[in-house]
């Protein structure tokens, strides 16, 4: 299963915070996560298995996708 976790306002734009999916072939993250409200790509961080990635990174089953807003600390 591929696990997707999204934090902050991008989660609201995607309509979910966490999801697990079975995928049978490599697929780009942007095909798994659709934002229904504006989320600028330069304002998010995409990680696959905690490594830097982009929405165009292809993932396989068992990958962990984490999407975070860019933040600047308290």
């Amino acid at each position: 299963m591929v696990k997707i976790k999204i934090l902050g306002y991008p989660a609201e734009a995607a309509g979910f915070k966490e999801k697990e999916l079975r995928i049978y072939q490599k697929v780009k993250i942007r095909d798994l996560v659709k934002f229904h409200k504006k989320v600028s790509e330069e304002r998010i961080i995409v990680l696959v298995n905690h490594n830097p990635a982009t929405l165009d990174t292809e993932v396989s089953d068992d990958d962990f996708i984490l999407i975070l807003p860019v933040v600047g600390g308290g």
């Binding site: 976790k5 902050g8 306002y9 609201e12 409200k37 304002r43 961080i45 807003p69 600390g73 308290g74």
Partner: protein, 611 residues
């Protein structure tokens, strides 16, 4: 000269006299305001190596040219002095109407000198300055003090005041205003207390200094307020403010937990932004702000307590407490006593670890709410173990010994704020090189640690720290405005030189501001070296040993820790990019390039400068 008043109020509490010092446009352009004015005044006016709690220390309140002419989120003021906690340069900023009233009274800054014989508050009404008895306020908490003062002087007043922590010279006492705003982590409240100065009241009813383009400022202000409200995450920000970072930090293993042993907390979900949303009763904030971030919840006794991420991080997971209402209680106590929640949380955690290791007699277990409350009272009143902890964790470690200096979580004497850096080397560098000791306000670059690789010790991280220091520590601390609209909401930085130009008539660019920022940084570093009598080396910029030798044991990054060689490499890159030598002291050529030849000459009395 437009935009600046060109005047600094000098108040001598010993002699009960006041004078006005003037400055010209070349001074104003070179230092802009806020922190820039503060370091220049401290360097010039403070006798080198002065005891920070002696009457000779100078306490400075400095505004910037954007304070007053209704610029969005510019209701801020800088407070600075030689720090009793670190022995070096100390400052902080706080939201307060005092910044606007000060400029309407006709001044850009106040310098407080000397010390009163008995508790005093200073009353400033335009050109008039009075020294008023504050005996009836001495010993009162900040909430009651502010209420009584406003009853005495009327509502349309700017307030700057201290609580019992400042009176009792707790080394991390802060200055407070507006029942919730606080600033000056490195003991600015203790400096105020050492002068027997309970409060400053400012009533300014004059016109603000004339601005160059009043109509343009009005137009830009309206547009920027609208732009902020239209940003893509405005609604979410208004719901959680800085508390949104809590879940972010937990997910990325940077949430300070058990005195920075770990970066994840088992009970994080109980105290994060979502948990806060369910308890919130009010949103409060600074003047002139339309993205207020103070979320008020009710504490155990039903009193309001204004939370943000830092105090929840430090008084929650860092002391092992997973109950937001109880955290709110500790936070309310800290606010009422006028003590910094970050250093307080670190000091409580230090005591808990010391107790666990048998280095102190007191039994204080992780997450023990009642003991934490008791400890806060003891710190503020300097009783028993509290008297040791009131000195900060660096001094406390010297006192209790053992291996405690390795986990006294401070740099240069200032406690690290709420981000664990076992696996965030760029952020560790930001803490190491922060100009006041370990604080995040100048640079917060965990986003770039995450984006470029947590295990990387690469130049882009050193570059990012400097870029952030120029923006957050330079631009925002000198104009003086809130830094949060920029990264949090994505507001374009070009707004700020445009506002500065429209206010002052001086054609500022971002590059001009960054040059001023570099000047301010070099000047602050010179101040530290002077106050340490030239005994300065790169070890002053190193984080505590815990992050290097006690790996994380939980979460996705268990086993990770900072690499000592990697950190030194990053630090050298930082120095090279700044034009500082391998000791971390600006080179003579750097001082000259920044127009600080006189500072270099002054510094040569204390150390040999690298050409």
């Amino acid at each position: 000269m437009k935009g600046w008043t060109g005047k600094i109020l000098r108040v001598d509490l010993t002699k009960k006299k006041y004078t006005t010092q003037t400055f010209d446009e070349s001074f104003a352009k070179k230092y802009i305001g806020g922190r820039g004015f503060a370091i220049k005044l401290l360097w010039d006016l403070l006798e080198p190596r002065t005891d920070p709690l002696s009457p000779q220390n100078k306490l400075i309140f400095a505004s910037g040219p954007l304070n007053g002419p209704v610029v969005p989120n510019a209701g801020k003021m800088v407070v600075a002095a030689k720090s009793p906690l670190t022995g070096g340069y100390g400052d902080g900023n706080l939201g307060t109407w005092a910044t606007v009233y000060l400029r309407r009274a006709g001044y850009d800054a106040i310098v407080i000198e000397g010390a009163a014989e008995k508790p005093t508050y200073i009353y400033i009404e335009n050109e008039k300055v009075e020294f008023r008895d504050a005996s009836h306020l001495w010993g009162l908490g900040t909430y009651e003090t502010e209420k009584k003062l406003l009853d005495e002087v009327g509502r349309n007043s700017g307030t700057l005041l201290i609580g019992p922590a400042g009176e009792n010279l707790v080394k991390y006492a802060v200055v407070r205003s507006m029942e919730g705003r606080a600033g000056g982590r490195p003991g600015m409240g203790a400096v105020m207390g050492s002068k027997k100065l309970k409060a400053i009241i400012i009533k300014g009813t004059n016109e603000l200094p004339p601005v160059a383009e009043p109509d343009k400022i009005k137009e830009m202000t309206q547009k920027l307020y609208e732009e902020i409200q239209k940003t893509e995450n405005y609604d979410f920000w208004m719901r959680q403010g800085t508390m949104a970072i809590h879940a972010w930090c937990q997910e990325n293993s940077v949430l300070p937990t058990y005195n920075f042993r770990e970066g994840v907390f088992d009970e994080a979900d109980k105290i994060n932004g979502e948990a806060m949303e369910k308890l919130r009763v009010k949103i409060r904030g600074c003047p002139l702000c339309n993205m207020q971030c103070g979320h008020t919840v009710l504490e155990v006794d039903g009193k309001e307590s204004e939370l943000d991420y830092e105090n929840v991080g430090m008084l929650g997971s860092n002391i092992g407490l997973g109950d937001l209402v109880k955290i709110a209680t500790l936070n309310r106590m800290a606010d009422d006593y006028g003590i910094d929640t970050i250093s307080l949380g670190s000091s409580i955690a230090f005591a808990m670890e010391a107790s666990e290791k048998g280095l102190i007699d007191e039994k204080i277990e992780w997450g023990d709410f009642d003991k934490a409350k008791e400890l806060i009272t003891k710190i503020v009143h300097r009783e028993g173990i509290g008297n040791i902890l009131a000195e900060g964790t660096k001094k406390a470690a010297e006192k209790i010994g053992g291996d405690s200096k390795d986990w006294a979580m401070q740099i240069k004497g200032l406690e690290i704020s709420a981000y664990d850096c076992h696996y965030a080397p760029g952020m560790a560098l930001a803490y190491g090189t922060s100009p006041i000791g370990a604080h995040h306000k100048d640079a917060w670059i965990i986003t770039w640690d995450v984006k470029t690789g947590r295990d990387k010790y690469i130049q882009i991280k050193a570059e990012k720290v400097i870029e952030f220091q120029r923006i957050r520590g330079g631009l925002f601390e000198s104009v003086v405005a809130c830094r949060l609209p920029w990264i949090e909401l994505g507001i374009d930085l070009e707004w700020y030189p445009k506002f500065l130009t429209a206010v002052t008539g001086v054609p500022f660019t971002l590059e001009d501001i960054y040059t001023a920022a570099d000047r301010i940084y070099a000047h602050i570093r010179a101040f530290w070296v002077r106050e340490f009598n030239g005994n300065w080396d790169r070890h002053m910029d190193r984080p505590p040993a815990r992050w290097f030798k006690d790996p994380l044991t939980k979460g996705p990054f268990a086993g990770k820790h900072l690499d000592p060689d990697g950190y030194e490499k990053l630090l050298s890159m930082y120095y090279e990019l700044r034009g500082w030598d391998e000791r971390g002291i600006p080179k003579e050529s750097t001082f000259e390039k920044l127009g600080l030849k006189d500072i270099a000459e002054g510094l040569k009395k204390y150390t040999k400068l690298t050409p």
